[in-house]
Protein backbone atom coordinates (compact mmCIF):
# COMPACT_ATOMS: atom_id res chain seq x y z
CA UNK A 1 0.00 0.00 0.00
CA UNK A 2 2.21 2.73 -1.21
CA UNK A 3 2.05 5.99 0.66
CA UNK A 4 -0.27 4.46 3.21
CA UNK A 5 0.36 3.42 6.77
CA UNK A 6 -1.54 0.67 8.53
CA UNK A 7 -3.16 2.18 11.57
CA UNK A 8 -5.46 -0.65 12.62
CA UNK A 9 -5.04 -4.34 12.02
CA UNK A 10 -5.76 -7.65 13.59
CA UNK A 11 -4.24 -7.76 17.06
CA UNK A 12 -1.16 -9.88 17.52
CA UNK A 13 -2.63 -12.28 20.06
CA UNK A 14 -5.89 -12.94 18.23
CA UNK A 15 -5.26 -16.11 16.27
CA UNK A 16 -5.74 -15.73 12.54
CA UNK A 17 -8.60 -18.19 12.25
CA UNK A 18 -12.33 -17.80 11.74
CA UNK A 19 -14.35 -18.12 14.92
CA UNK A 20 -17.58 -19.97 15.55
CA UNK A 21 -19.55 -16.99 16.79
CA UNK A 22 -22.70 -15.94 15.01
CA UNK A 23 -22.51 -12.87 12.75
CA UNK A 24 -22.53 -9.74 14.85
CA UNK A 25 -21.97 -11.52 18.15
CA UNK A 26 -20.45 -9.40 20.89
CA UNK A 27 -18.14 -12.18 22.03
CA UNK A 28 -15.99 -11.72 18.93
CA UNK A 29 -15.43 -8.07 19.67
CA UNK A 30 -14.65 -8.77 23.31
CA UNK A 31 -12.09 -11.36 22.29
CA UNK A 32 -10.40 -8.81 20.14
CA UNK A 33 -10.31 -6.27 22.95
CA UNK A 34 -8.77 -8.82 25.28
CA UNK A 35 -6.08 -9.62 22.73
CA UNK A 36 -5.36 -5.92 22.34
CA UNK A 37 -5.11 -5.23 26.06
CA UNK A 38 -2.90 -8.26 26.61
CA UNK A 39 -0.62 -6.97 23.91
CA UNK A 40 -0.57 -3.43 25.22
CA UNK A 41 0.16 -4.49 28.79
CA UNK A 42 2.67 -7.02 27.49
CA UNK A 43 1.29 -9.80 29.70
CA UNK A 44 0.83 -12.55 27.15
CA UNK A 45 3.49 -14.56 28.98
CA UNK A 46 1.64 -14.61 32.27
CA UNK A 47 -2.01 -14.17 31.37
CA UNK A 48 -4.24 -17.16 32.02
CA UNK A 49 -7.85 -17.20 30.94
CA UNK A 50 -10.55 -19.45 32.32
CA UNK A 51 -13.21 -19.73 29.65
CA UNK A 52 -16.73 -20.77 30.66
CA UNK A 53 -19.32 -23.22 29.54
CA UNK A 54 -21.16 -20.89 27.26
CA UNK A 55 -20.71 -19.65 23.71
CA UNK A 56 -17.17 -18.60 24.59
CA UNK A 57 -16.16 -22.10 25.60
CA UNK A 58 -13.76 -22.26 22.65
CA UNK A 59 -11.95 -19.02 23.52
CA UNK A 60 -8.68 -20.96 23.56
CA UNK A 61 -9.01 -21.43 19.84
CA UNK A 62 -8.90 -17.68 19.34
CA UNK A 63 -6.87 -15.86 21.96
CA UNK A 64 -3.24 -16.82 22.06
CA UNK A 65 -2.69 -17.28 25.81
CA UNK A 66 -2.83 -20.20 28.23
CA UNK A 67 -6.29 -21.35 29.23
CA UNK A 68 -8.05 -23.85 31.46
CA UNK A 69 -11.70 -24.61 30.82
CA UNK A 70 -13.97 -24.46 33.86
CA UNK A 71 -17.14 -26.35 34.63
CA UNK A 72 -20.27 -24.27 34.15
CA UNK A 73 -20.33 -21.50 36.72
CA UNK A 74 -17.15 -22.45 38.55
CA UNK A 75 -14.79 -20.06 36.83
CA UNK A 76 -14.00 -17.97 39.87
CA UNK A 77 -13.39 -21.05 42.04
CA UNK A 78 -11.00 -22.41 39.42
CA UNK A 79 -9.36 -18.99 39.21
CA UNK A 80 -9.00 -18.96 42.98
CA UNK A 81 -7.19 -22.28 42.87
CA UNK A 82 -4.90 -21.08 40.10
CA UNK A 83 -4.15 -17.64 41.43
CA UNK A 84 -3.35 -18.91 44.90
CA UNK A 85 -0.71 -21.13 43.31
CA UNK A 86 0.52 -18.55 40.81
CA UNK A 87 0.18 -15.20 42.55
CA UNK A 88 2.20 -13.31 39.93
CA UNK A 89 0.11 -14.36 36.94
CA UNK A 90 -2.81 -12.41 35.53
CA UNK A 91 -5.70 -14.80 35.98
CA UNK A 92 -9.09 -13.93 34.58
CA UNK A 93 -12.36 -15.68 34.02
CA UNK A 94 -14.57 -15.07 31.04
CA UNK A 95 -18.19 -15.73 31.89
CA UNK A 96 -21.67 -15.35 30.48
CA UNK A 97 -24.66 -14.24 32.48
CA UNK A 98 -25.97 -17.76 33.02
CA UNK A 99 -22.58 -18.96 34.03
CA UNK A 100 -21.82 -16.06 36.35
CA UNK A 101 -25.14 -14.89 37.73
CA UNK A 102 -27.13 -18.14 37.91
CA UNK A 103 -25.24 -21.36 38.53
CA UNK A 104 -22.03 -19.57 39.51
CA UNK A 105 -23.57 -17.12 41.98
CA UNK A 106 -22.01 -18.54 45.13
CA UNK A 107 -18.55 -18.92 43.66
CA UNK A 108 -18.63 -15.42 42.24
CA UNK A 109 -19.77 -13.78 45.43
CA UNK A 110 -17.34 -15.59 47.66
CA UNK A 111 -14.37 -15.10 45.37
CA UNK A 112 -15.27 -11.43 45.23
CA UNK A 113 -15.75 -11.26 48.97
CA UNK A 114 -12.43 -12.94 49.65
CA UNK A 115 -10.94 -10.31 47.40
CA UNK A 116 -9.20 -12.87 45.22
CA UNK A 117 -6.85 -10.96 43.00
CA UNK A 118 -8.51 -12.07 39.79
CA UNK A 119 -10.49 -10.41 37.02
CA UNK A 120 -13.83 -11.44 35.63
CA UNK A 121 -14.88 -10.51 32.13
CA UNK A 122 -18.64 -10.76 32.41
CA UNK A 123 -20.46 -10.93 29.10
CA UNK A 124 -24.05 -9.97 29.74
CA UNK A 125 -26.17 -10.75 26.70
CA UNK A 126 -29.35 -11.27 28.67
CA UNK A 127 -29.87 -14.86 27.52
CA UNK A 128 -28.32 -18.29 27.63
CA UNK A 129 -26.61 -18.16 24.27
CA UNK A 130 -25.03 -21.52 23.90
CA UNK A 131 -28.06 -23.51 24.98
CA UNK A 132 -30.38 -21.67 22.66
CA UNK A 133 -31.84 -18.60 24.21
CA UNK A 134 -33.38 -19.45 27.57
CA UNK A 135 -34.00 -16.82 30.22
CA UNK A 136 -30.88 -15.63 32.01
CA UNK A 137 -30.74 -13.87 35.38
CA UNK A 138 -30.20 -10.66 33.41
CA UNK A 139 -33.05 -11.07 30.94
CA UNK A 140 -35.04 -7.86 31.13
CA UNK A 141 -38.66 -7.71 32.20
CA UNK A 142 -41.00 -8.64 29.39
CA UNK A 143 -38.25 -10.08 27.20
CA UNK A 144 -39.37 -13.23 25.43
CA UNK A 145 -37.05 -16.20 25.62
CA UNK A 146 -37.56 -19.89 25.00
CA UNK A 147 -38.37 -20.47 28.68
CA UNK A 148 -40.38 -17.27 29.09
CA UNK A 149 -42.59 -17.58 26.03
CA UNK A 150 -44.85 -14.81 27.32
CA UNK A 151 -41.94 -12.60 28.39
CA UNK A 152 -40.09 -12.47 31.67
CA UNK A 153 -42.60 -11.93 34.43
CA UNK A 154 -40.91 -10.41 37.48
CA UNK A 155 -43.65 -11.75 39.74
CA UNK A 156 -42.74 -15.32 38.86
CA UNK A 157 -39.21 -15.17 37.48
CA UNK A 158 -37.92 -12.21 39.47
CA UNK A 159 -36.46 -9.04 38.00
CA UNK A 160 -33.10 -8.97 36.19
CA UNK A 161 -30.06 -9.04 38.42
CA UNK A 162 -27.60 -6.19 38.34
CA UNK A 163 -24.28 -7.70 39.11
CA UNK A 164 -22.06 -4.63 39.30
CA UNK A 165 -24.43 -2.97 41.70
CA UNK A 166 -24.77 -6.21 43.64
CA UNK A 167 -21.07 -6.81 44.12
CA UNK A 168 -20.14 -3.23 44.88
CA UNK A 169 -20.84 -3.42 48.63
CA UNK A 170 -18.38 -6.30 49.07
CA UNK A 171 -15.07 -5.10 50.47
CA UNK A 172 -13.11 -7.53 48.37
CA UNK A 173 -14.14 -5.91 45.09
CA UNK A 174 -11.88 -3.15 43.86
CA UNK A 175 -12.89 -2.43 40.28
CA UNK A 176 -16.36 -2.85 38.85
CA UNK A 177 -17.54 -1.28 35.64
CA UNK A 178 -20.20 -1.80 33.01
CA UNK A 179 -19.99 -0.97 29.32
CA UNK A 180 -21.13 -2.33 25.98
CA UNK A 181 -19.68 -3.33 22.62
CA UNK A 182 -22.46 -1.95 20.47
CA UNK A 183 -20.79 1.25 19.30
CA UNK A 184 -17.29 2.40 18.52
CA UNK A 185 -17.28 4.69 21.54
CA UNK A 186 -18.41 1.99 23.92
CA UNK A 187 -16.01 -0.51 22.43
CA UNK A 188 -13.17 1.83 23.25
CA UNK A 189 -14.58 2.36 26.72
CA UNK A 190 -14.79 -1.38 27.27
CA UNK A 191 -11.19 -1.75 26.28
CA UNK A 192 -10.21 0.90 28.77
CA UNK A 193 -12.12 -0.86 31.53
CA UNK A 194 -10.51 -4.20 30.75
CA UNK A 195 -7.16 -2.49 30.90
CA UNK A 196 -7.98 -0.87 34.23
CA UNK A 197 -9.14 -4.19 35.65
CA UNK A 198 -5.96 -5.97 34.59
CA UNK A 199 -3.85 -3.12 35.91
CA UNK A 200 -5.65 -3.38 39.20
CA UNK A 201 -4.85 -7.08 39.28
CA UNK A 202 -1.23 -6.35 38.47
CA UNK A 203 -1.23 -4.16 41.57
CA UNK A 204 -2.75 -7.09 43.47
CA UNK A 205 -5.63 -5.03 44.79
CA UNK A 206 -8.45 -7.55 44.84
CA UNK A 207 -11.37 -8.68 42.75
CA UNK A 208 -12.16 -6.80 39.55
CA UNK A 209 -14.97 -7.27 37.06
CA UNK A 210 -15.93 -5.70 33.77
CA UNK A 211 -19.54 -6.30 32.81
CA UNK A 212 -20.11 -5.96 29.10
CA UNK A 213 -23.57 -5.74 27.56
CA UNK A 214 -23.21 -7.82 24.45
CA UNK A 215 -25.26 -8.60 21.37
CA UNK A 216 -26.68 -12.06 20.76
CA UNK A 217 -28.35 -11.71 17.36
CA UNK A 218 -29.21 -15.40 17.11
CA UNK A 219 -31.18 -15.62 20.31
CA UNK A 220 -32.58 -12.14 20.32
CA UNK A 221 -33.77 -12.95 16.82
CA UNK A 222 -32.64 -9.55 15.61
CA UNK A 223 -30.14 -8.52 12.97
CA UNK A 224 -26.76 -7.40 14.28
CA UNK A 225 -27.65 -3.80 13.56
CA UNK A 226 -31.03 -4.13 15.27
CA UNK A 227 -29.24 -5.62 18.25
CA UNK A 228 -27.37 -2.37 18.75
CA UNK A 229 -30.72 -0.65 18.98
CA UNK A 230 -31.93 -3.13 21.61
CA UNK A 231 -28.82 -2.52 23.67
CA UNK A 232 -29.58 1.20 23.59
CA UNK A 233 -33.26 0.99 24.26
CA UNK A 234 -33.83 -2.28 26.02
CA UNK A 235 -30.72 -2.85 28.05
CA UNK A 236 -28.86 0.32 28.95
CA UNK A 237 -31.86 1.79 30.78
CA UNK A 238 -31.90 -1.35 32.93
CA UNK A 239 -28.16 -1.64 33.25
CA UNK A 240 -26.67 1.83 33.52
CA UNK A 241 -23.13 2.12 32.21
CA UNK A 242 -20.10 3.37 34.07
CA UNK A 243 -17.66 2.62 36.84
CA UNK A 244 -19.35 1.19 39.91
CA UNK A 245 -16.34 0.88 42.10
CA UNK A 246 -12.72 1.80 41.90
CA UNK A 247 -10.26 1.55 44.71
CA UNK A 248 -8.92 5.03 45.18
CA UNK A 249 -5.79 4.19 47.13
CA UNK A 250 -3.56 3.55 44.12
CA UNK A 251 -2.83 5.76 41.14
CA UNK A 252 -4.61 4.54 38.04
Amino acid sequence: MKGMKKIIGRPKYLKDVPNHYCPGCGHSTIHRLLAEVIEELDIRDRAICIPPCGCAVLAYDYIDIDMVEAAHGRGTAVATGMKRCLPDRVVFTYQGDGDLAAIGTAELIHSANRGESITTIFVNNGVYGMTGGQMAPTTVVGQKTTTTPKGRNPGVDGPPMKMCEFLAPLDGTVFLARSTVHSPKQIKQTKKYIRQAFESQLRDEGFSMVEILSQCPSNWKLSPVECCGWIEEGMIPQFPLGVYKQRQTEPS
Partner: protein
Protein backbone atom coordinates in the same frame (compact mmCIF):
# COMPACT_ATOMS: atom_id res chain seq x y z
CA UNK B 1 -7.59 9.35 -0.99
CA UNK B 2 -6.82 10.02 2.67
CA UNK B 3 -7.63 6.57 3.87
CA UNK B 4 -8.54 3.09 2.81
CA UNK B 5 -9.43 -0.24 4.27
CA UNK B 6 -8.94 -3.89 3.46
CA UNK B 7 -11.48 -6.51 4.37
CA UNK B 8 -10.54 -10.16 4.61
CA UNK B 9 -13.65 -11.27 2.80
CA UNK B 10 -13.24 -14.96 3.42
CA UNK B 11 -13.80 -14.37 7.12
CA UNK B 12 -16.61 -11.84 6.84
CA UNK B 13 -19.96 -12.89 8.23
CA UNK B 14 -21.94 -10.13 6.69
CA UNK B 15 -23.06 -8.71 9.99
CA UNK B 16 -23.32 -5.25 8.43
CA UNK B 17 -21.95 -3.36 11.39
CA UNK B 18 -19.13 -1.78 9.39
CA UNK B 19 -21.58 -0.62 6.77
CA UNK B 20 -23.82 0.87 9.40
CA UNK B 21 -21.02 2.75 11.09
CA UNK B 22 -19.11 4.11 8.10
CA UNK B 23 -19.81 7.85 8.02
CA UNK B 24 -18.93 8.08 4.37
CA UNK B 25 -20.87 5.11 3.10
CA UNK B 26 -17.77 3.46 1.71
CA UNK B 27 -18.74 -0.11 2.48
CA UNK B 28 -21.40 -2.17 0.78
CA UNK B 29 -22.59 -5.75 0.59
CA UNK B 30 -20.84 -7.75 -2.06
CA UNK B 31 -22.86 -9.68 -4.56
CA UNK B 32 -20.42 -12.56 -4.44
CA UNK B 33 -20.96 -15.17 -1.79
CA UNK B 34 -17.88 -16.32 0.15
CA UNK B 35 -16.90 -19.87 1.12
CA UNK B 36 -18.88 -19.64 4.33
CA UNK B 37 -21.97 -18.70 2.28
CA UNK B 38 -22.02 -15.11 3.47
CA UNK B 39 -22.23 -12.10 1.21
CA UNK B 40 -19.23 -10.22 2.56
CA UNK B 41 -18.73 -6.52 3.06
CA UNK B 42 -16.75 -4.80 0.36
CA UNK B 43 -14.87 -1.52 0.32
CA UNK B 44 -15.93 0.98 -2.29
CA UNK B 45 -12.59 2.17 -3.61
CA UNK B 46 -14.09 4.25 -6.31
CA UNK B 47 -15.79 6.61 -3.95
CA UNK B 48 -12.45 7.83 -2.61
CA UNK B 49 -14.30 9.18 0.40
CA UNK B 50 -12.63 7.07 3.09
CA UNK B 51 -10.90 9.20 5.71
CA UNK B 52 -9.30 6.26 7.47
CA UNK B 53 -11.33 7.05 10.58
CA UNK B 54 -11.18 3.39 11.55
CA UNK B 55 -14.69 3.11 12.96
CA UNK B 56 -15.39 0.09 10.79
CA UNK B 57 -12.39 -1.73 12.18
CA UNK B 58 -13.39 -0.84 15.72
CA UNK B 59 -16.83 -2.36 15.30
CA UNK B 60 -15.93 -5.34 13.15
CA UNK B 61 -16.46 -8.34 15.42
CA UNK B 62 -14.26 -10.52 13.26
CA UNK B 63 -11.29 -8.16 13.41
CA UNK B 64 -10.77 -8.55 9.71
CA UNK B 65 -10.62 -4.91 8.65
CA UNK B 66 -7.25 -3.28 8.25
CA UNK B 67 -7.24 0.49 8.10
CA UNK B 68 -4.66 2.52 6.26
CA UNK B 69 -4.11 6.25 6.28
CA UNK B 70 -2.00 8.48 4.10
CA UNK B 71 1.45 9.04 5.43
CA UNK B 72 1.77 12.64 6.56
Amino acid sequence: MKGMIRIKKAMCKSCGLCIEVCPKGCIFVSKKINEKSYFPAEFDKKKEACTGCGLCAVVCPEAIIEVYREKQ
